[in-house]
Amino acid sequence: MQRQTAAATALILPAFLMLLAFTHWPAVATLIDSLYSTPRGSRPAVFVGAENYSDLLDDPVLFKALANNFWYALVTIPASVALSLLMAISVNAQLPGRALVRMAYFTPTILPMIAVANIWLFFFTPDYGLFDQFVGLFGLGRHNWLNDSDTALPAMMVVAVWKESGFFMIFYLAALQSMPPDLAEVGRLEGASRWMFFRRVTWPLLMPTTLFVVVNAVINAFRTIDHVVVMTRGGPDNATALLLYHIYDVGFRFWDTAQAATMTVLLVAILAALAFVQFVVLGRKAHYR
């Protein structure tokens, strides 16, 4: 017994230490930093209590970033989930060149986000970019997609959905493949329409996958900002400033590390709340075998 515990501890220790050093300790340190002022030159950090938190209310960009992130998440999560499911169903069927189509769908996932952003940067370029050349065929004039505050955020959403759907598709595809074929046979015998079968059998059976995919999509909606850095740097007029991008700006461009730490705590709180809701609400609906 004693030896078993010792062995177990020894086996867990490396992973636990890593987790402690790179996840738990930084989280605690951030929380502590958020209670102190930013040290600047000759002025050391002093304890300010909740002042950093009340200062957040004076940051108009933060509210803009929160609103942007809300819309960004609201659009990209359902869109990428729906698209990935559609793609998975389409390549699950028997069709010629299936492997090629699957690979094509998955390609965006393999590419680094920075490369993806640079490709899309070209697509969105006014006049000679892909989109403008395309709409130019119909006689429409130039559009400055990324430098117009009405289209910049939707442009970011398109990139995110394009990048993520292929990844989620793999999970849906795996789930569809593991679904016993006799279910479909029974459905056919009972005379269920394809839509009925999907709604009553496939979709409920996919629920655990959907839960996993949605949790990941939510995290990514707050975590992936590479394309913002490359394509718009948060502009124009903060139209594409997402929460994490704003934190980076405040922390590593303005060097207001205390304010950045405070906003990080806010971000962690939002993510924790979302994860909690997801597991309680969606988890109840998920049907595990």
Binding site: P60, G139, N147, S149, W255
Partner: protein, 430 residues
């Protein structure tokens, strides 16, 4: 006998040691100096930089110089500051001349004007390039890759529009009128814009040119106050917005900094305002005759300086400080400054560099290169305050809104002023 032998042995050993000494001590005395540099223009800058390091090392074998490419200006600042705060920083870095306040406020850099000799050396630069690096009567930046804004224009387009290709617009009125004439339309579509002034990334910088031309200044000398609501500032922004809204000669909305030189090279823009740092790029790639001119005047001529200075970090040891200074004096010497300017298009930072044969030959073959130097007489220091990045961002956000037509110039600038006041308040308490 025994004695003699021992003495002999000992002396041989000493002799050997003495012989070995110089090589050993040279390796030990070699001072290592590392500097971070950004690349902000087209062209093989890293290769040029490697050549500079190789030449310097050949002439100064006692200094181990290492140049580290660190990305954009912002990346370089982030990397240099992060590395310095963790004790691994470089001794030198090329950073924006406008980052001086932040670096001094954070107590990260050293002043350069310590001895009479150093002061004499620093006195040899164009005063316009020194201004941004002077804070609290000390010098914190050595001008290196410096630039200013000039007007590039397509001479073929001028001819096509019935304008004299040797006469660039001299005033705001001319500039707007030329731009209208140069704009070419096919039905509703514009195939060539008369003028493009980029408004992404550096919009405050381009606006500052217009503010200077309108006779205004954007900030106080000590970097604690901004004058965003001054009439000169409002009229400058109004002029920029009007080029598109009233004259329909400038693309609506925000023009991208990065694609503007390409628009010019592809003939989609007849005139552009851009940094002299792009001179070599445009000269190499333009398939049509082009002109370079000073920016047009309103109440006066004017253009802000820009680009990067060398900064020395506090973490440098005394030996490294001496070695760093030797490198800086070497790299800013007339011949070197001239060669760097010719290779990149940056404005050579010292009058004596312009007197070298290298530079004279270059200007003789390419007179446009001298426009930036002549414009220095009207140059103003680049916009810079305490907590510079934050104030600049607050201004740029509002300029975006004004150019997109979401706010009037007055309203946008009033908001930028209020934001800047909030940020600068702590620095005014002293």
């Amino acid at each position: 006998m025994q004695m003699t032998r021992r003495v002999l042995l000992a002396s041989t050993a000493t002799g050997a040691a003495t012989l070995a000494m110089p090589t050993i001590s040279r390796a030990a005395d070699q001072t290592s100096v590392e500097f971070y540099f950004p690349v902000a223009i087209g062209g093989p800058v890293t290769k040029i930089m490697d050549g500079i390091v190789a030449d310097f090392t050949k002439e100064n074998p006692d200094i181990a110089l290492k140049a580290v490419y660190a990305g954009s200006y912002n990346d370089t600042l982030t990397k240099a500051v992060t590395a310095t705060k963790s004790g691994q920083g470089p001794q030198l870095a090329v950073l924006l001349s406008t980052d001086a306040y932040s670096l001094v406020d954070d107590d990260l850099v050293l002043p350069f004007d310590n001895t009479a000799e150093d002061k004499a050396w620093l006195g040899g630069f164009f005063p316009a390039f020194m201004a941004n690096g002077q804070i609290n009567d000390r010098v914190w930046g050595v001008p290196f890759q410096r630039s200013t804004i000039v007007l590039y224009y397509n001479k073929d387009a001028f001819k096509e529009a019935g304008l004299d290709p040797e006469k660039a617009p001299a005033t705001w009125e001319e500039h707007a009128a030329f731009a209208e004439k140069l704009t070419k339309r096919e039905g509703d579509r514009v195939t060539r814009w008369g003028i493009q002034i980029p408004g992404s990334g550096f919009s405050y910088w381009l606006l500052q040119a217009m503010v200077a031309e309108a006779g205004g200044t954007m900030m106080s000398d000590n970097g604690t106050k901004v004058h965003f609501t001054d009439p000169a500032m409002v009229s400058a922004l109004q002029y920029w917005v009007d080029l598109s809204a009233k004259h329909h000669a400038h693309p609506p909305g925000i023009v991208d900094w990065g694609t503007t030189p390409r628009d010019f090279l592809e003939g989609r823009a007849a005139m552009i305002w851009h940094t002299t740092g792009n001179l070599t790029n445009i000269k190499t790639n333009a398939k049509f005759p082009f002109g370079v001119a000073m920016l047009p005047a309103n109440k006066r001529r004017g253009s802000p300086t820009g680009g990067g200075n060398f900064y020395m970090f506090k973490s440098a040891s005394p030996a490294q400080r001496t070695a760093s200074l030797r490198f800086l004096k070497w790299v800013t010497s007339p011949e070197r400054a001239a060669a760097w300017g010719v290779a990149t298009g940056y404005v050579a930072t010292r009058p004596d560099a312009w007197a070298t044969q290298t530079m004279k030959d270059y200007v003789a073959g390419f007179p446009a290169a001298a426009v930036a130097r002549d414009q220095l007489a009207f140059a103003v220091p680049e916009f810079s305050t305490h907590d510079n990045q934050r104030v600049t961002q607050a201004l740029d956000d509002q300029l975006d809104a004004a150019m997109l037509g979401k706010k009037t110039p007055e309203a946008a600038l009033a908001e930028a002023q209020a934001a800047a006041e909030r940020i600068l308040k702590p620095f005014r308490r002293g």
